[in-house]
Symmetry: C2
Subunit: 482 residues, 2 copies
Amino acid sequence: MGNTKEAIGMSSSVEWRIQVDDGSKEILVPESKNGFQRFLAALKGLIVNFTLKICNFFKKAWKIGVDDPRKVAHCLRVGVALCVVSLFYYMRPLYEGVGGNAIWAVMTVVVVFEYTVGATLYKSLNRICATGLAGFLAIGIHWVASQSGTKIEPFILGASVFLLASAATFSKFIPVVKARFDYGVTIFILTFSLVSVSGYRVEKLIDMAHQRLATIIIGTALCMVVAMVVYPIWAGEELHFLIIRNMDKVSDSLDCCVAVYFKADEANPNSDEACSKNLEAYKSALNSKGSEDAMANFARWEPAHGLFSFNHPWKQYLKVSSALRNCAYCIEALNSCLYAENKSPDFVKSHLADTCSIVSSNSCDIIKELALTIKTMTRSSTIDMSVIKLNDSVQLLHENLKSLSTLLIPEEGPQNTTDENEHKEPVLTVSLIEVIPLVSFASLLIDIAGRVEGLVQAVEGLAKLADFKPAAEEKPGLKSVN
Amino acid sequence: MGNTKEAIGMSSSVEWRIQVDDGSKEILVPESKNGFQRFLAALKGLIVNFTLKICNFFKKAWKIGVDDPRKVAHCLRVGVALCVVSLFYYMRPLYEGVGGNAIWAVMTVVVVFEYTVGATLYKSLNRICATGLAGFLAIGIHWVASQSGTKIEPFILGASVFLLASAATFSKFIPVVKARFDYGVTIFILTFSLVSVSGYRVEKLIDMAHQRLATIIIGTALCMVVAMVVYPIWAGEELHFLIIRNMDKVSDSLDCCVAVYFKADEANPNSDEACSKNLEAYKSALNSKGSEDAMANFARWEPAHGLFSFNHPWKQYLKVSSALRNCAYCIEALNSCLYAENKSPDFVKSHLADTCSIVSSNSCDIIKELALTIKTMTRSSTIDMSVIKLNDSVQLLHENLKSLSTLLIPEEGPQNTTDENEHKEPVLTVSLIEVIPLVSFASLLIDIAGRVEGLVQAVEGLAKLADFKPAAEEKPGLKSVN
């Protein structure tokens, strides 16, 4: 049939007339499908689509599990804790149906068990204290109300619920309360309302409150023990290593950024896969403020563990990370020099390449050294020398910036500027504008070096507060580094 | 007694001998207190301290309430909702004691009622769906288990709790699930475990599930109605105005930073109270990522309200705020120029003062215009002109940077640099190093101008997606601006 065209799937009534090889005309009738077939096709498409989506979802989930097996471990822990608390009640039928107090232990486990030990402790202690306090208060008010006659009783109870719930809700807006007792306040309102709504007599209430508190303590105790014993994940440790990782990333980014800048135009900054990844690595430091704050909040609830004492200065970690972010802001500005329209020519760049690289590598060394200081919790014996080295290299960069003027080509030409009364010296136009991108790059590097010193101070503050071990060289043979 | 010194409060046995005016020596005996007096003093100190702290706490709380009366309104709403749900059960005693299903309505109100409508809806819908789904599944498994004999039953139930709780906990680590269904997953585990732990027969379970779901629906419905009707606080609106406020702050900071830089040294950057506040204002944009993400997540649950439709592109707001943060990073670097050690002398600065001010004021105008565009949800008719104006001023700044070379003073002297083979022109040392701080300041300004254009694109994307009204000038008389 030669080059006949087909119009399969056309459902309109238009006829297609197409010239075929033998010169005759042929009428192509569109293939018609009945409703059922179309429905089947659509259904098939839907199912395939859905299956693909589900597959993708599971692939993603699998990747999350493989990347961090501790997450899988946490899920198993939750399952185990729930089974234990259920079995506990299967074997000792203390209750009649779901109405009994048994459910409070199960509820507690589900609600209180969190990923990190700190979060679990925070919720557990908040839950116990808030339940106790609210129960105590509610029973008191209940007793007062019951003494004042059946007519006034509902008003007293209603007013107390209204006032306490409003006040407690408001307290959540106060930053200190929000950070430490947010969950406790919710549980306080919950318990207080439940007791107030209940129509029990006070004697029965005390019995019930006692049982309720006991089951909640059983639930929280189970959670706390499982969280701390079975494959524990400490919020403090997470914060510790997150900041160390971020320091390494910032240092890698800085190193890579300077390397790419001076590797010059023949290589596209994005060409090298690993380098392009490193270039963006500092963003991790910029974006982790929220999780760092949360972890520092949880870490304060944790008992001594590993290298950390109970009163480890977690707040100072936040200062370190803030100083690190300060460096990262500047690296962001430095990074955009790589993509700027105006670039200095290579021969100009080569003039500062070495000194810039030295400043950047000195800065990187310091950041890595600080990261190691935090990691080993041992003061560095060489950090002072490194800072002096950095300052020297910054000084050298200053000198080299001065000597850049030897590169400027004097040029004679009409002056188009507004200040005609200025010096009538030979005008140096072409080269200054070519030098400017390099000069601002170098200035940013100097700025970063200053911010690195801020980081040194923050880490020194941490070393003082957390009582880091003295440097190995200072007391040789006395202590071994863990 | 002239310059006699006192040693009150010393409780050690050391005697202080002090030379007084008349040349004689005097022995100061430390003031002795008996145990009870000391205890009283300590107690008094404690009480005063405690009272002061409490007073401070209440002052802070009062300030929070005065600064944002909506927070107070929210607390009253919670109180009202709780009273209503309690009264509902006071008047219709549907239950016997706390064990009845009544408590689920009260619990739901306490747990589900959040500050914004979006958060309340998110929790409400998650709670209803998760309870329904988990109840349905648990009853099914319960039925299967009950059919398979009393010996196997506990194993089937235990295994199902373990598997489902683990899987559900794991799903929380998947970002999409975490963002949209975190609360639902918790409630799913909770309901499933509770039903599995309960020893009821299936028929009774269905009855109970029906009542439970009904009370939860009553509680959530009450919350949703109160949240949306009584003084509603919409997460979307909050996000909308937060980003507008941040844009204004970034613009103020930029403006102020350039003004302070060129006002020169006679004025300390920190002298002017208002200006110093504005200088730091951009930090608000840097630090609000977390709350913006949360609000965008909640906003997607909200129905159409005010200017916003149901499918308002909240994600694009995050892109706008990310573009704004990009500007803020550079302003951070710009800000540190104010505090740099090396500064350009005033006569050099004056050379670029005008053009820099023009670039900054053009950038500020654009940011403010974009803020107004978002605020009124009306495309700006002048934004294209403003961008052209900004580009022109950046071009002018480039030209002025070039003409800076007229300022450089030629100097003859020995060359101490390493490249002896370079041009042997007169060396221009002194001035170049003085010009460098100004040049890097100007370069950063140019970088900021580029980032402002990125912001323009992000807002244009928002205008397209959210279908902003066309500019008033384009269709005169057709539409009136709200």
